[in-house]
Amino acid sequence: MPSLREDGMAGERRTRGAFDSFLVWNRRVHYYLGLYLLFFIWLFAFTGLLLNHPRWQFAQFWPNRIQSTTEHTFESATTVADIDRARDVMRQLGIDGEVQWPAMQPPNGPFTFQVSRPGLVVDVKADLRAGRATVQRTQLNAWGVMHVLHTFTGTPAADSRNRRDWTLTTIWALSMDAVAVGLIVMVFGSYVMWFRLGTKRLGGIVALALGFISCGAFLGALRWLL
């Protein structure tokens, strides 16, 4: 029968083993997440720069857009809900994407909506009685696609009417969430790894303090400074 002291030592070994295992996996998760999310991180970092520098000439996309307008006929559906009507017209015209509604439908005018996806904006004006639609397509170049990928969430913040309604928008939005979660896990994992490096602790405290002070200043403390 093991003594109390032996029991205590075994327990300590188990705890240390679990902690060592945590440290190994924490390190691995840091590499693995970083490598798996690499292309997403590059996209969001690079397009963040593009969004903050709209005057960079090489990345201009709006002046280089290609627009075309076409007329189509379609069979009017008997559905009542606007989204079902729009989806039915889109299906018949071969359009796919996130539906965006105007602030209001013109009274007695055509049934109007916009369909968007990164690189393509389609404005549809449909005469539901006559079964005719005018479709204006605006095609963006690769810079435009990258630009929109950064902001493509399907939910304009101040617009309760426009809700995410395309499956691929939902998947893209969830992938944005996943990238954010991955980055947060990497950050906290890096704190653990850094703290274990005794000789780097002081330099790390300085770097971390500089980061938190400069970032925190913008989150509210500036009101006491300015």
């Binding site: 292309f39 903050n52 990164p118 493509f152 790390g204 971390l208 980061g211 989150l219 509210g220 300015l226």
Partner: protein, 209 residues
């Protein structure tokens, strides 16, 4: 080579630690942005309103346009004790007024300046931390490019937001270098890079093609 590895490892560590609060701000704000969750203040102005009299208004202010008008209005805002980024300026010629929304991450103010009477009425409201995060995430952004960066706050934030993007690219490249140096992790790492590439390009193709 060993020296280069050690320097790269230290840079990855220290740059990463400095960058980490910014990465947290941008990452946490993603949830609010993607799902429209940020707590926005009520549309009606708060009760905190004050009037400032006897302001020195630059001549010809109302007739100015764009960045020149925003720059000219800055000393007037300083006199009224208002700091922050001017969003835009709206001129109401019939009322001899300029409406100037000014924003700090955690507060916004609307200055209604009567340039004939040289008085300004200022209303303000507080924003939640989530709204402040969202604001910082979106700023300076692509809109109103000619007036954006008209306050010291936004000029500094632009530098730091850019630095966050550049340094993120930097630590991702140094991270790849440090991973390649770990022979035991090469195979698994390569699998994950490929899996990530397939996920990324597959999604982009499905959404944009």
């Amino acid at each position: 080579m060993r020296r280069f590895y050690l320097i790269t490892r230290d840079l990855h560590l220290y740059v990463g630690l400095f960058l980490s609060p910014f990465v947290l701000v941008f990452s946490v704000s993603v949830f609010y942005l993607v799902h429209g969750l940020a707590q926005r203040p009520a549309p009606e102005r708060s009760a905190s309103s004050r009037t400032v009299n006897d302001l020195v208004v630059p001549p010809g202010l109302a007739g100015m346009q764009g960045r020149a008008r925003v720059d000219a209005i800055r000393p007037v805002l300083d006199q009224a004790g208002i700091s922050g980024e001017v969003d835009f300026v709206r001129h109401l010629p019939g009322e001899h007024r300029l409406i100037v929304p000014v924003r700090l991450p955690n507060r916004d103010m609307v200055v209604s300046l009567d340039y004939e009477q040289r008085t300004a009425t200022i209303t303000s409201r507080e924003h939640s931390i989530s709204d402040a995060l969202v604001y910082l995430h979106k700023m300076p952004g692509p809109h109103n490019a000619d007036v954006r960066g008209n306050s010291p706050l936004m000029r500094w934030w632009r530098v730091l937001a850019d630095a966050t993007a550049y340094l993120t690219l930097f630590i991702s490249v140094t991270g790849i270098y440090l991973w390649v140096a770990l022979k035991a992790e090469r195979r698994m790492g390569l699998v994950l890079v490929l899996a990530g590439a397939i996920t990324f390009w597959g999604l982009v193709y499905a959404i944009a093609a």
